[in-house]
């Protein structure tokens, strides 16, 4: 039986709505951003919901104040706004302050990558992995379907400190119908293979899985696929062990290439773990664009569409990983 896919935000907020019935410490603050499940929370837990209006700086400040008063806070807004509009509020009153005082604030951003397809670059978000990872105590979580998104809820409640969850705005196909990955490891191995391993995060996991299936069918090449959904606290030992089987690693992210995102993470990882793989980084090329198109068309234009990815992996394998 296939599972009906849901929006990440609704699956996650459904967990919050249920948990709020038993845990009086849970609070959600929105910057005038909604969802069908948020409507239930607004109706059933009006005393622990507040809308600050279109005011992300105050979203972070109010969330910090509530957290200092003992609440476990979920701050909810569109991804580029909750990360970039209020970056210094996050740095000062979440990242810095949580080093001194116990706080639990979870930033829930909707609209990772190109997921607001026709809204253009203001609403698209290709810098957030870099920016949020720049704060060393910020946990950055990047799920790829609603099952893995919802499964992060317990980890958010259980562990203190600032976190950023980057959710897709679209309903994505279910990847984890057999069960959510353990939040503890921070990554999940979708397939093991030979020569090259694809390491993807968020939406790009779907592209990676599709590329791996075609490489197997059309090229007879079995590549590995890993979903790195915790971009900050994954098991380094576990990942090093997985990658040891490969001569090459390909990173796939819906963020600018060469600007400090997943690509930088993996390059640093390979360098500091001495695993010496050849690395190919696939990310958004060419800067900001205003063209309209489907998500797939936009992805092809910037080098991360299914065809572009396949072409570049094939070239990478042929030139740098000869048999």
């Amino acid at each position: 039986m296939t599972m009906k896919p849901l929006a990440m935000r609704d699956a996650f907020l459904e967990r919050l709505w249920r948990a709020m019935q038993d845990d009086p410490k849970l609070f959600i603050v929105s910057a005038d951003f909604g969802s069908p499940v948020l409507d239930k929370i607004r109706a059933d837990h009006a005393d622990r919901f507040v809308n600050v209006g279109i005011a992300e700086q105050n979203l972070i400040n109010v969330s910090a104040g509530l957290a200092l008063e003992g609440y476990t806070v979920f701050a909810y807004a569109i991804a580029p706004f909750i990360t970039m509009r209020c970056y210094e509020q996050t740095r000062v009153s979440l990242a810095l302050l949580s080093e001194i005082r116990p706080m639990n604030v979870n930033l829930v951003g909707v609209g990772a990558g190109y997921s607001y397809v026709v809204s253009g670059p203001t609403h698209q978000c290709y810098e957030d992995i870099t920016l949020m990872r720049a704060m060393p105590n910020m946990r950055v979580l990047s799920p790829s379907d609603h099952v893995s998104a919802a499964a992060l809820f317990d980890a958010c409640v259980a562990s203190r400190g600032p976190k950023y969850l980057r959710f897709d705005a679209q309903v994505l196909p279910v990847v984890y119908d057999a069960g959510a990955p353990s939040a503890e490891h921070g990554f999940y191995v979708h397939r093991r293979g030979e020569r090259v391993c694809l390491v993807a995060t968020g939406y790009m996991l779907h592209t990676a899985r599709a590329a791996a299936a075609r490489l197997a069918a059309e090229d007879g090449l079995d590549v590995g696929v890993i979903d790195l959904f915790d971009l900050t606290r994954f098991s380094a030992e576990g990942l090093a062990r997985e990658l040891a089987a490969y001569r090459g690693v390909v990173t796939l992210e819906e963020g600018f290439r060469g600007r400090g995102g997943l690509d930088a993470l993996l390059l640093d990882f390979v360098a500091s773990h001495g695993t010496r793989q050849e690395v190919l980084n696939l990310g958004v090329e060419g800067g900001y664009r205003f063209e309209l198109g489907t998500r797939q068309e936009l992805h092809e234009q910037v080098g991360i569409g299914p065809e572009a990815v396949l072409r570049r992996i094939r070239a990478f394998v042929a030139s740098r990983l000869p048999t």
């Binding site: 507040v50 008063e69 005082r101």
Partner: protein, 272 residues
Amino acid sequence: MNATADELKARSERVWRETLAIHRRAPETRLASSLSSVEIFVALYYGGVLAFDAARPLAEERDRCVISKGHGSICMYPILADLGYFKVEELQRVCKSGSFLGGIPDPVIPGYETVNGSLGHGLGVATGMALGLKRKGSASQVFVVAGDGELHEGANWEAIMFAAQHGLDNLHLIVDDNRISMLGHTDDIVSHGDLAARLTAFGWTCEHVDGHDAGAVRDALLSQKSHSSGRPTALIARTIKGRGVPGLADAPLAHIMNPKPEVIDGLLGNAS
């Protein structure tokens, strides 16, 4: 805690002197903006305004004092030491390696609630605290000391609108209205005009006070604390930046000026 106005005045004089002495030893500290706020903090901590317990700085039942004008609050160091938040000897080590008393205070110092080296953050966080206290059913109240200069930061006005919307009458803003930021008089930079009228228009209850009359500041704060008006309150305390230091007081560049050691010694009556 029912200090008389004269006692508060005498206390303010001591804190003023100790603040000068700290700056004499640690010229990295901001002196002028720390002298404009002396009476405000004396009224809060010695005037029976704040509920606090120095032995338990984060006690649940305390009133919260958020010091938004972080670097302009070095006068809090002698106050917190005197009240027992930390040992008085620590005042000798301000800005020294290993001390927790920096050029800009951080909440590693017992008694500081939030990070306020960067300006314009205190009021918003305090607003979240005030909302949290209300929702918890707590009677604790939140006091915020902010400079008029930092009210240029727009995030303050997001908080000001929000606090009025939610009737946060447990939130009390005290503006250290010294009218000077780094490069001169705020009226010449971006004027707040009639700040009280602006805050009132935003739904706050607003009063003026002479910010160097500690007794009057105390009386105004106690009155605001005890009246539940359904509105957040602001006390605009007119102050003088660098008060009492010749050449520094009310100088347009007071924020970044350091009086010469011999000037401080003269004021403190030190034998040189």
